[in-house]
């Protein structure tokens, strides 16, 4: 089943074209990695997908429900009520976690399911504890974010996103704020999620990770998709820009 389709996305900031006609799609159970140099527009793409930014033109379709359609060269967004429903389909893990500092680990995870989704406390708490166990944080539920390492904070933020039961989970450079050791623990979590067939879209600078975990890789540069396909094809691409980019990583 197709969970997300973004077609012909265009986005400018102050006349600067950041996304020039980008299209991607994600099927259920698939892991899509978006790689590319800084300023290539990959994070903007993610922010458009999660509607933290509005697109100028193009269409965004979640599970067959149109969040935005293109009309006369402009994107037209769906009604607020429809967007609210679509909103439920996805979650996002931020580069710098953005945990709520005044909430304990457990409350960070349980507050939205209870307050927003109006689910019962017993059920939400049980699920949250199960998620914490999966993240290896079962003994930290009473801790506050500042008492945790970066890697632990990121694991809490993944648990927080998963607690909303999204159909797609987006990751915006989830390891960029972490040292190599902590990066490893986050990548392992994402790998485990991939093994459970969680649908994920990951913007990352971790090339080996993208190569090993993704079903599909998109290489972006200067607002366009330069190369895309199965990881083995993309990483062996003859495209000069792609080779140059990968070369820099291998050095």
């Amino acid at each position: 089943m197709r969970l997300l389709e973004m077609n012909h996305i265009k986005k400018s900031f102050d006349g600067q074209e950041v996304l020039k006609d980008i299209s991607i799609h994600v099927d259920e159970g698939e892991v899509l990695s978006i790689i590319g140099p800084s300023g290539s527009g990959k994070s903007t793409m993610l922010r458009c997908a999660t509607m933290l930014e509005t697109i100028d033109d193009g269409e965004i379709i979640y599970l067959g429900d149109a969040a935005a359609v293109s009309r006369d060269g402009h994107a037209v967004y769906a009604k607020a009520a429809d967007l609210k429903k679509i909103h439920n389909y996805y979650g996002l893990v931020f580069q710098n976690f953005n945990l709520f500092p005044h909430y304990s680990v457990l409350k960070n995870i349980t507050d939205a399911p209870m307050r927003v989704q109006k689910r019962g406390k017993a059920e939400v708490y049980a699920e949250a504890r199960e998620l914490l166990r999966k993240m290896g944080l079962e003994d930290r539920e009473k801790a506050y974010p500042y008492q945790l390492s970066g890697g632990q904070q990121q694991r809490v933020s993944i648990a927080r996103a998963l607690a909303m039961k999204p159909k797609i989970l987006f990751f915006d450079e989830p390891t960029s704020a972490l040292d190599p050791e902590l990066t490893g623990e986050i990548l392992k979590i994402i790998k485990d999620l991939a093994a459970e067939k969680m649908t994920m879209v990951i913007v990352t600078h971790e090339m080996n990770f993208a190569k090993n975990v993704s079903d599909y890789v998109v290489f972006m540069d200067k607002g366009i998709i330069v190369e895309e396909g199965k990881p083995e094809d993309v990483f062996n691409s003859k495209n000069p820009r792609m080779k140059e980019f990968l070369g820099k990583f291998e050095e």
Binding site: T50, L52, F94, N98, F100, D111, V116, P145, M164
Partner: protein, 216 residues
């Protein structure tokens, strides 16, 4: 008059000072939040009006503002002013003035909340109101305690400006007693009163700060 009688007389005026203090604190903290939100609103017109208001309230003497609030209704609208309006005028003037200061404190606190907090809340489906009430405001309160404590301590001392409208608070009564009794005792009693009052205020805010130190 014995020292005891002087203290007795001043004691009655302390109630008025405390009334001015508490009423001003509560009303201006509420008004100030509203004012800060208008100041930060997307409407340029509303924001500019709030900005102008804050600028005037902070840029002119509180004493002058009290006089305007008191005499304004008579000179501008020809309304009859009764003596009972004096205390009301003081309370209104103080609330309007302190709201401007608190609005700027709120504004700095709200502006200091990282945009990532709003984005995280949005992704989790919180409404704007829920985000403000449950995510933003608790963090703002923690951040603004020190400047609010500062302003509150100033307010304790500023209550003495009510003497301008001859409201029988501590400072007004002190001045009267010093003149009528030719004694410096009222000054000392008043000084001790203001100091102890502010000591309590400072201890209270320290306690609040400690209560909220469970996170960073």
């Amino acid at each position: 008059m014995t020292v005891m009688q002087i203290v007795q007389q001043l004691f009655n005026s302390m109630g008025i000072t405390m009334e001015i203090f508490f009423v001003t604190l509560v009303t201006s903290l509420i008004l100030g939040l509203g004012l800060a939100l208008v100041r930060m609103s997307k409407s340029r017109v509303l924001s500019l009006i709030a900005k102008f208001y804050i600028s005037v309230m902070r840029g002119t003497p509180l004493m002058l503002q009290l006089l305007v609030v008191y005499f304004g209704p008579f000179f501008i609208f020809g309304m009859q002013i009764t003596p009972s309006y004096r205390l009301k005028a003081v309370l209104i003037g103080f609330a309007l003035n302190y709201a401007a200061y608190f609005a700027e404190i709120y504004r700095s606190g709200i502006a200091a909340i990282p945009v990532g907090q709003y984005e995280a809340a949005r992704l989790l489906g919180y409404s704007k109101t829920q985000t403000f009430v449950h995510i933003v405001m608790p963090q703002v309160i923690k951040r603004i305690i020190p400047p609010v404590a500062n302003e509150t301590i100033t307010l304790v001392k500023d209550t003495s400006l009510a003497f301008t409208l001859a409201v029988a608070e501590v400072f007004t009564v002190t001045k009267q007693l010093v003149a009528s009794q030719s004694s410096v005792v009222p000054f000392i009693v008043a000084g001790i009163f203001y100091y102890v009052f502010n000591l309590v205020v400072a201890v209270f805010f320290e306690y609040l700060e400690k209560r909220l130190s469970y996170y960073r």
